[in-house]
Point group: C2
Chain length 436, copies 2
């Protein structure tokens, strides 16, 4: 019944659109890029829902595997796979990128425009006049290049960026969708690890390795447990300040004077005074197309250091991909905002904006109020917003109350995922992808 | 108001007990031992609540750090730290062992009875006539020795074991409290990892390392995703059958014919045909007091094997301690049953039973019905219940539908933890521990 009504409204909507706005009616496309988060599908839902509401928009296409789906003509009519409000909710509660992702870097179009021609062909074929790219710093490089190419060639296709990343390191926005859920997972899990690590009456050190290559936002977020009366994590080390093994050992010995169980949060990207990664000795040899090395094994490395230098029981825990995909403990604020910023991007494109990314501006912490705005993409692409050094304590091993005030609103609220057989239900849009 | 009423009832209850039952009134003690779980505090809550209900029982003591608290006279009057129904709920939603734990092995009393005398002294000092020990296989060794010592010396102190372990490897019981929540976490997390691993359009293998030294129950539980239409995890390897690196590589290559992203679940305790641990090369040199070696690094080891033999993108994920302490996604069935078995243990002791452990007997799968019973402790202590080989598929890389039917009821239902600042609230009873 619900399904039939939704369909009827959609059909009615299209009839109205065709008859009333004439030549002004456009189609749009949306794609997801970069690493998974819990909120990136909520932004997809936002683009889809706003696209259905706008009288100027008829078809809403999804591109599989980011910009690659546009290059290879692998699109899906989203209304054929997202069929009703229940599907929207499932989409919002499904982690990772429902349309798949890519790590594809566009060449400069003045040097090599072959791939741009392919993109243009696909957009022409489907009459796509606005393209929305949900991604992080690297993905905004694609928004910048694509919008510049269209402008340079006088082609009226709007390109709007929608931020996402658990790393919270995108410039010019108060925060990024995906970060709040990751922070909520990290704080929740850290608290459980604290309980787990305190059961035996012996000296122990637990090292929790958290994602963040250059920016310490995620690792820092574990410090919010303080507001709930938790003493741990006792030590928090961020990549924004140089790391010293000697000081690290001294800090632990100092905490051990008052606590049998010492909990340490470390960012995977900790660097020594000379700028080298601490984990350099255990670096994987893989480098992504943007030239970033994959880090792994810092926690294990520090575990061995503590074992050797202090000799007590030590355990390292790598939160790994769980911190970016644990949608069962997502922040409702994060998912709602991610949807909102997706909706806003569509409105901005209809208003004529292109070569921009939608950003959040924080009006106040209490009551928590945010607004959206747009920023020209050149101010954002390939830049990184680091954790403010002024929010790191004087001992360089913890965060200030100001940082906690910043974090808290982003982590509020829980979702109630639909459960089947005791497990959350996900939606899978990849089933519909054309296999080439 | 609620608090005042609860206190009043407690006082009234004690007055009635003192006046009506006379010399029959006893005190009891409870302790927790072994590794943390999400449900062990629910069993503590069960002992406490039933203790308050029984007219024969006056004081309910908690022993800090398992049997060590009894040896060292480190007890707490539980009614002074668990003050109302809200505290009971918080206790049930707090992971790990609220009273701390130990890995202490009692000597044989006919060889060395010094420690038994200390235990007896504490029990006499507090007039404790029944002792409840919540733990796994190793902890049941303590129940066996202690009850045998009391019997041999004609001392009327009942000792009753309450099972717990995420490993589900305790003999004579259908399942153990703590397992259902761990299995729910593993399946939920595995599904999120599947989403996370499927975003890029390239061949990849994701290896998820799950706890289970000798018994594959936890690793096997990831196979239930099948009932929700999930194809992955494609391969599941359990320690109950010999592992072959060659077959492992062949199995992966076989799955790659139909799936770009291959998901593999491996138990940390996989063994080769000759009985050696696969992870032997990366064994930690630590051995616990029961002679078990700590395993670590199997996933990393297999990651390197796949990299070398297949050459595609490979990632290994160690679920680590999170699988035993992630109470935010606990199974309601598990916590309720854990409380129930704690209550039952108190009833059994009052009936005069000693030297027993309370067990679950499954009456039917659908509707799921269980009953409790008691089994003499000698049939349980130091034994291990392995995953049935008949529930492993013919290719030794998956589980049967019968196994799924067994798992499903244990993972049903969710809790709604009290949240503060976006994070679940825990109760901390360790604050009250005497520091010696």
């Amino acid at each position: 019944m619900f399904f039939a009504l939704t369909n009827f409204i959609a059909i009615l909507n299209n009839i109205i659109k065709i008859n009333s706005v004439g030549g002004f009616i456009i189609n749009i496309a949306v794609a997801q890029s970069g690493g998974p988060t819990c909120a990136i599908n909520s932004s997809l839902a936002g683009v889809f829902c706003q696209g259905q509401k706008q009288p100027e928009i008829r078809e809403i296409y999804g591109s599989y595997n980011g910009i690659q789906g546009v290059i290879e003509d692998n699109l899906v009519d989203l209304s054929s796979v997202i069929k009703n409000d229940d599907d929207i909710t499932l989409l919002m509660h499904t982690p990772s990128t429902a349309l798949g992702s890519c790590r594809y870097k566009l060449p400069d179009f003045d040097k090599d425009n072959e791939v741009y021609k392919k993109i243009l062909n696909t957009f022409k074929k489907y009459d796509i006049k606005a393209f929305f790219y949900i991604g992080g710093n690297d993905s905004m490089d694609t928004v910048a290049k694509l919008s510049a190419y269209f402008k340079a060639n006088d082609i009226d296709i709007k390109v709007v960026g929608i931020p996402k990343t658990i790393d919270n390191d995108v410039a010019m926005t108060d925060h990024t969708p995906g970060f709040g859920s990751a922070a909520k997972y990290i704080a929740t899990t850290m608290q459980e690890i604290i309980r787990d690590s305190s059961v035996y009456y012996l000296d122990s050190v637990t090292i929790v390795e958290i994602m963040g290559r250059d920016a310490g936002w995620l690792t820092a977020s574990s410090g919010i447990l303080k507001v709930n009366g938790e003493v741990a994590p006792h030590l928090i080390y961020l990549p924004e300040v140089a790391f010293s093994i000697e000081k690290f050992i001294d800090d632990i010995k100092n905490v051990q004077k008052s606590s049998k169980s010492v909990i340490v949060a470390v960012s995977e990207g900790l660097k020594l005074e000379n700028g080298e990664y601490v984990a350099n000795s255990c670096l994987s040899d893989t480098v992504d197309v943007f030239g970033h090395q994959y880090l792994s094994g810092l926690g294990k490395y520090l575990e061995n250091v503590v074992k050797k230098e202090i000799g007590c029981k030590v355990r390292s825990i790598e939160l790994n991909v769980l911190q970016r995909c644990a949608s069962h403990i997502a922040s409702k604020t994060d998912l709602d905002e991610a949807m909102m910023i997706g909706e806003q991007a569509v409105k901005n494109a209809i208003e004529g904006k292109t070569g921009v990314m939608v950003v959040f501006e924080r009006i106040s912490n209490s009551p928590y109020t945010i607004a959206t705005n747009t920023v020209v993409i050149e101010k954002i692409a390939n830049k990184e917003k680091l954790f403010p050094v002024k929010w790191i304590n004087d001992s360089n091993n913890g965060i200030t109350d100001e940082a906690i005030e910043y974090f808290l609103p982003l982590m509020q609220g829980e979702i109630s995922p639909l459960m089947k057989n005791g497990i959350p239900v996900h939606i899978n849009l990849m089933h519909h992808k054309k296999i080439k």
